[in-house]
């Protein structure tokens, strides 16, 4: 009896574990066609980062129909686990593998060397091999639009900015925002709160509340959940959505959102791989290629603000306006880049300082 009980218990635990794990992630099987595989760091239903990439995967399916079979693996940790997953995908006959998170960089480099005939595409990293490219979106372009709008909207001249981690990706967004904001409103300043997470709705809302309590009347964010937009809406404070259109969470006070569209890229690269024209590249697309979309400004704002949003968006898209064009001043007001010049992509990619208009220091 005792043995039976123990066996039963053990079986139940295993079943429970398997049920949990299989609910977390699943691998879709595919037949012998051109195979495009996608590796995700979280669930594709997260309504944020992974959902955005998954839409790209669906676009590949839709564009190529029967010619391409797509495969996805969700919830792959950014560790040796990802190396195992990518190796497995390559062994199962994947022709191109999209590694959609920064932490897959070194594992992807390793696996790409072991499978020289498979194409690898890594999101947001900087290491390439003969069969591994990198790609990213120029998120900072949307901050030029946001900064302009925030500078026009604010009455308290305090902008609250919820930031995730002090890496160049996030710092360049803050700087791009500040440069545009100061152009239309030299008195406005940005207060930054670092939450040390990409995703914790509660903490993001708390940060928004803390910033509003200290006088911010516009909230920008570089985190993934709509919690901050929702918290701002509740208090009648303006906000910007991130990664997807968050206007549902702030119908009257979400100014606009930054929407990422990876599908243009995924379709283009899959096509290149199928045609045999694939080359190692470092792709950094933005508004110009439609990888970044900024919905129209909230209709509850005055017409001149709406028009300014549309104009800056168009100028950045056409290349008429460069987000990091001089003059750029450091926090003490000293000019560090003269008028007529602009930061190079490499310089932008390595930004680790604040410009004029941002309070505090970049955490070291």
């Amino acid at each position: 009896m005792k043995l039976l009980k123990k066996t039963l218990a053990a079986t139940a635990i295993v079943a429970l574990g398997i049920a949990g794990i299989s609910a977390l992630g699943g691998v879709t099987k595919a037949a012998d066609k051109f195979k495009a595989a996608f590796v995700y760091v979280g669930p594709v239903t997260d309504g944020g980062w992974n959902a955005g990439h998954y839409e790209g995967q669906l676009a590949v399916e839709k564009t190529f129909g029967d010619k391409v079979q797509t495969v996805k693996v969700e919830n792959v940790p950014e560790s040796a686990d990802s190396e195992r997953v990518m190796t497995q995908l390559a062994q199962q006959g994947a022709n191109i593998i999209f590694a959609t998170s920064f932490g897959y960089m070194d594992p992807a480099v390793k696996v790409s060397k072991n499978f020289p005939k498979v194409y690898f595409e890594h999101c947001c990293g900087y290491k390439t091999t003969p069969n591994m490219s990198v790609y990213n979106i120029r998120f900072y372009e949307s901050r030029t639009v946001q900064g302009t709008l925030a500078g026009m909207i604010t009455k308290s001249n305090i902008i609250g900015y919820i930031a995730s981690f002090p890496i160049p990706e996030v710092v360049m967004g803050i700087d791009s925002f500040a440069l545009a904001m100061r152009k239309v409103n030299p008195k406005a300043t940005i207060k930054v709160v670092w939450v040390n997470t990409w995703y914790d709705p509660g903490k993001e809302a708390d940060a928004a509340k803390a910033l509003m309590d200290q006088g911010a009347d516009v909230i920008a964010q570089h985190t993934d959940s709509p919690a901050a937009v929702q918290a701002a809406e509740a208090r009648g404070v303006w906000s910007f959505g991130e990664a997807s259109d968050m206007s549902k969470f702030g119908p009257t006070h979400c100014v606009t959102s930054e929407v990422d569209d990876w599908s243009v890229f995924y379709v283009a690269r899959t096509k290149a791989a199928m045609d045999g024209t694939w080359k190692t590249e470092s792709t950094w697309w933005g508004l110009d290629k439609g990888a970044l979309i900024i919905p129209d400004v909230n209709k509850s704002l005055p017409a001149d603000v709406q028009a300014a949003g549309a104009k800056v968006r168009e100028d950045v898209r056409s290349g008429k306006r460069l987000p990091f064009a001089g003059p750029i001043k450091d926090q003490s007001g000293k000019v560090i880049l003269a008028e007529g010049q602009s930061l190079t992509d490499e310089q932008i990619g390595g930004i680790n300082y604040y410009v004029e208009g941002v309070e505090g220091e970049v955490p070291k």
Partner: protein, 311 residues
């Protein structure tokens, strides 16, 4: 003027502290009762997530937050009953089952929640009594909360009263202290523990629903973001006493909120360090309390985590 600013800032910090602490308070009170009966359930995070999605879904479908919270409590109790069957009837290891419950709850909530992602919901209403709520500091803090906050404090009092002032509470504690003796006296150890686990599950479910209905009225996967583990730490932090569970939960919330305000205020401390403060505070308090071994030993259930086999 400066005084006015200080009051304003303090009110802001304390009011948001209450929001941040309430989910942990519910879960920790539930776990306290579970642990007092001698069962260690590490599945709080999973039960909270199930409560969060069920609460959100039922509120969305019925339009009533009362149904939502009730459903969250039932759902939390339902998943905890799986744990209870495994550990109490089939005598499986509590630590392993608790961890499995967390993984199971994470997956299950994600599965149920697939169609609820990106859907907004109105926050459950907060009390507003003209004049009373407008009193500086005390007004918003005492007369401006939502029903679930008041209920959480009432539950803390109720749990304290139950454990320390009632005969049933005494029996539950005796089961946690020495299950063989309690069994010899004719008490149903398994039955009492089963109920305690269900209560813990229900409370975790309500705590989870506070996240998805009041704190940030939305559903997103894994939205508890570790709060279940903090609730677990809270119980140990409190050395298994209801009053201190209340204090501990609010202290955790306070540190989380205060560090965000400090940053916005421009305090030049690394945010990574500030993010650590709630955990550092726990360790410090644990060390301080643990120095007096008698304090801990007197309240820790002696049979915590042990399998009871009536033979």
């Amino acid at each position: 003027m400066i005084f006015h600013d200080v009051i304003h800032e303090l009110t802001a910090i304390l009011v948001t502290t209450v929001f941040a602490s309430t989910p942990m308070l519910y879960a920790a009170l539930g776990e306290l009762v579970t642990e007092k009966s001698g069962v260690l359930n590490l599945g709080i995070e999973g039960m909270m997530l199930v409560g969060a999605i069920v609460g959100f879904a039922v509120t969305t479908l019925t339009g009533s937050a009362i149904f939502g919270v009730a459903a969250a409590a039932l759902a939390g109790a339902a998943v905890s009953s799986v744990f209870a069957v495994l550990t109490l009837l089939l005598l499986a290891n509590q630590v392993a089952c608790g961890l499995a419950l967390t993984i199971f709850g994470t997956g299950l909530s994600a599965l149920i929640g697939r169609s609820y992602i990106g859907k907004p919901l109105a926050r459950i209403p907060q009390l507003h009594i003209p004049q009373l709520t407008d009193i500086p500091l005390i007004g918003p803090l005492i007369f401006g909360q939502d029903a679930l906050v008041y209920l959480s404090v009432a539950m803390a009092v109720a749990v304290y009263w139950f454990l320390n002032r009632t005969r049933s509470g005494l029996i539950l504690r005796s089961v946690g202290e020495n299950h063989d003796a309690a069994h010899a006296l004719g008490y149903s150890v398994v039955g009492i523990r089963f109920l305690a686990v269900l209560f813990g599950g229900a409370m975790s479910g309500i705590g989870g629903s506070y996240l998805s209905l009041a704190y940030t009225p939305l559903w997103s996967e894994g939205m508890t973001a570790g709060r279940g583990w903090i609730a677990l730490a809270c119980v140990t932090f409190s050395t298994w006493r209801a009053g201190r569970v209340l204090l501990g939960a609010y202290l955790f919330g306070f540190f989380t909120i205060a560090q965000l305000h400090a940053q916005a205020f421009g305090v030049p401390i690394a945010p990574e360090f500030l993010s650590m403060t709630p955990y550092i505070a726990t360790i410090v308090v644990l060390v301080l309390i643990s120095r007096k071994a008698s304090l801990v030993r007197m309240h820790a259930p002696a049979c915590l985590g042990q399998v009871f086999n009536a033979g």
